[in-house]
């Protein structure tokens, strides 16, 4: 197996707030291979976004980040800011949730795509323009040569998200981090954007980290899935494996909460919810973070942090009592 493109080891993020420290991410480790699509799922506030923002040090100064993020042989957490800026947008780029406001309102779409090209690739105005048209075609915006001179407010939300993706892939990055890229869009547009992400991976060979709380999206696009809970990794497995043989009770709970209107004829089973709520991240319990909500919890669960174990091939889970059934 070749060395992974991105290797995150023991990544922890702590925010020092007026009310004391908040442990947003606790010793996360994962890898991303060339051209691979990794889905990171978990509910709001579980540390998905913080994990990905910390990769190229986008967090505010109140955050303390430890661990290592090795990308292409360099530790991004130790890289000088000047060099890191050359990585941002060129080798690792981001697409955020808010397409409506992520474009600068006073510049045309073409100008904003061109800005990245001129900064990182040193293209001239005219060649940046030509490349921007190509990029708009790549993200399937019709009449690209005319759209280029329009301002963000003249485009719809889905169109703007396509422009954001065009900016993100402009310099042919090795990694594209998409943080809830479809959440702010309506369902029909979502499908188009996901389709586009698949297309980009296929045509450009870009590795993608897809952050979402939507398991359907993950099933659709990802190769591998990482489930996060309360700042820790709960479970990680190839996508088909995870959906077929979920091990962690939290994952099982998440899958049980997906509505399946077309399955089980006549038996419209009630959606299962996970009882309880996410623990506060203020103090990390020296126990399984899911213990209070878990049907399998026992003394061991409440007294120790479960280590990650490989229970099936390529399938790791942080649980003392893994298993498929709600035992």
């Amino acid at each position: 197996m070749p060395a992974p493109l991105l290797e995150v080891a023991d990544l922890s993020v702590r925010f020092d707030t007026d009310d004391g420290p908040v442990h947003a991410v606790d010793r996360m480790s994962f890898t991303l291979g060339q051209g691979e699509v990794l889905g990171i799922v978990g509910e709001s506030g579980c540390g998905k976004s913080v994990t990905c923002m910390s990769l190229v040090r986008l967090l505010p100064e109140t955050a303390t980040v430890s661990g290592s993020v090795v990308f292409d042989g360099r530790d991004l957490l130790a890289l000088p800011l000047r060099r890191l800026r050359q990585v941002r947008g060129r080798e690792i780029s981001y697409v955020f949730q808010e397409p409506m406001t992520s474009l600068n309102p006073v510049f045309t779409v073409g100008h904003q795509i061109g800005e990245v090209l001129r900064r990182h690739l040193g293209l001239s105005r005219s060649s940046a323009r030509a490349r921007a048209i190509e990029l708009l075609r790549l993200v399937r915006i019709p009449a690209a040569d005319r759209r280029l001179d329009e301002y963000p407010h003249q485009l719809s939300g889905g169109m703007r998200q396509r422009v954001m993706i065009a900016i993100a892939v402009a310099c042919d990055p090795k990694v594209l981090v998409a943080d809830e890229p479809t959440t702010a869009l309506d369902v029909t547009i979502q499908a188009g954007i996901l389709d586009l992400m698949r297309d980009i991976r296929e045509r450009l060979g870009t590795a993608i980290i897809l952050i979402t709380h939507n398991l359907g999206v993950v099933a659709d696009v990802a190769d591998r899935v990482l489930v996060m809970y309360a700042g820790r990794k709960a479970e990680e497995a190839p996508v088909a494996e995870l959906f077929a043989h979920p091990q962690h009770p939290y994952t099982i709970g998440l899958l049980g909460a997906i509505p399946r209107p077309y399955e089980g004829e006549g038996t419209r089973a009630r959606l299962q919810e996970i009882p309880g709520r996410v623990p506060s991240l203020r103090e990390l319990p020296q126990a399984c973070a899911f213990a209070d909500r878990c049907p399998r919890a026992d003394e061991l669960t409440r007294s120790e942090i479960p280590p990650l174990r490989e229970v099936r091939p390529h399938h790791v889970v942080a649980c003392f009592h893994p298993g498929e059934d709600g035992a």
Binding site: L58, F96, T101, E115, L148, D149
Partner: protein, 295 residues
């Protein structure tokens, strides 16, 4: 949707040229703004070409024609020394325009970088800049200007400096406030993830977003400075007699207010007209430069 309605076979035009044409068309649809621009340009032309436009030397006295009124020789009459009022108003435009534009440029040059640095970096530098600004803002604009002009000494250059510095706090507050708001916009982190450094963020992403606000403030500051110059000159802290300025003309006129009120009326009208024209022009510019404007 006008872009979609364009015939597809239209010849390819440079987008910049197209934008210029669009802005021109929007501007021409605003008669008040056009009138403002015409008047402003008229004053600027007057200021630049004063030596050629003025029928007389503004300081030349003619004791055979004191207090002349409405003669063909002196269209706006003469003052107590027989100096031609029209010529003095034309030359006075020079002082007013110079002070108006230069002091505003000076204020923006000092204030905008300071305000943006304060708003962008926050922390102690913001505290220092913002608190000093608050202290300065507690002095009324003209009081500050009069005080500074008194310290610097009476001359046109010092009046420009005094008025420019007096306008700095207001500009700092605006630049800082705008920066504070704009740095929270989603396109700022979007630019950061694409590798932009602080200078790029401040000057290429934040500054262009506040140009319309700065422009509005400039169109308030320029007429303010024009009036300020008149006040300083009126008080003897600006242009020194016998050099012509609208302020010194008002000063001279006040002793003869009952005999020859027109001596005060004409320079007064010039001040009002100039100030009004800048304000109206500024409103129009603000409207057309906003990309959300559709007309």
């Amino acid at each position: 949707m006008s872009a979609l309605a364009e015939p597809t076979g239209a010849p390819v035009v440079d987008p910049r040229a197209r934008r210029r044409r669009l802005l021109r068309r929007r501007f021409l649809r605003r008669p008040m703004a056009v009138a403002g621009l015409v008047v402003v340009l008229a004053f600027v032309v007057m200021a630049i070409f004063a030596p050629w436009l003025a029928p007389f030397d503004p300081s030349a006295t003619d004791f055979n024609a004191t207090f002349a009124h409405g003669t063909a020789r002196h269209l706006l009459g003469t003052d107590e020394f027989g100096r031609d009022q029209l010529s003095r108003i034309i030359w006075g435009a020079r002082a007013s325009m110079q002070v108006g534009f230069l002091s505003t440029l000076l204020a923006m040059g000092i204030a905008v970088p300071l305000g943006m640095v304060a708003g962008y970096y926050r922390g102690w530098i913001d505290t220092v800049i913002a608190r000093v600004t608050d202290v300065l803002l507690s002095f009324p604009f003209l009081i500050l200007a009069v005080g500074l002009a008194a310290i610097l000494g009476a001359s046109l250059l010092n009046a420009t400096l005094a008025l420019g510095i007096s306008a700095v706090p207001a500009f700092i507050r605006i630049a800082r406030g705008e920066t504070l708001a704009l740095r929270e916009e989603d396109y700022i982190p979007a630019a950061v993830v694409n590798g932009a450094n602080d200078a790029t963020i401040i000057f290429k992403h934040i500054l262009p977003n506040m140009t319309s606000t700065l422009l509005v403030q400039a169109t308030v500051t320029i007429p303010g400075a024009i009036v300020g110059e008149a006040v300083l000159s009126f008080l003897g802290l600006g242009v020194q007699p016998p050099k012509p300025s609208w302020g010194t003309m008002l000063q001279d006129a006040q002793q003869y207010l009952s005999q020859a009120p027109r001596l005060a009326v004409y320079p007064g009208l010039a001040i009002v007209l100039a100030a009004l024209a800048f304000n109206v022009l500024g409103d129009g510019l603000r409207d057309i430069l906003d990309p959300r404007t559709t007309r």
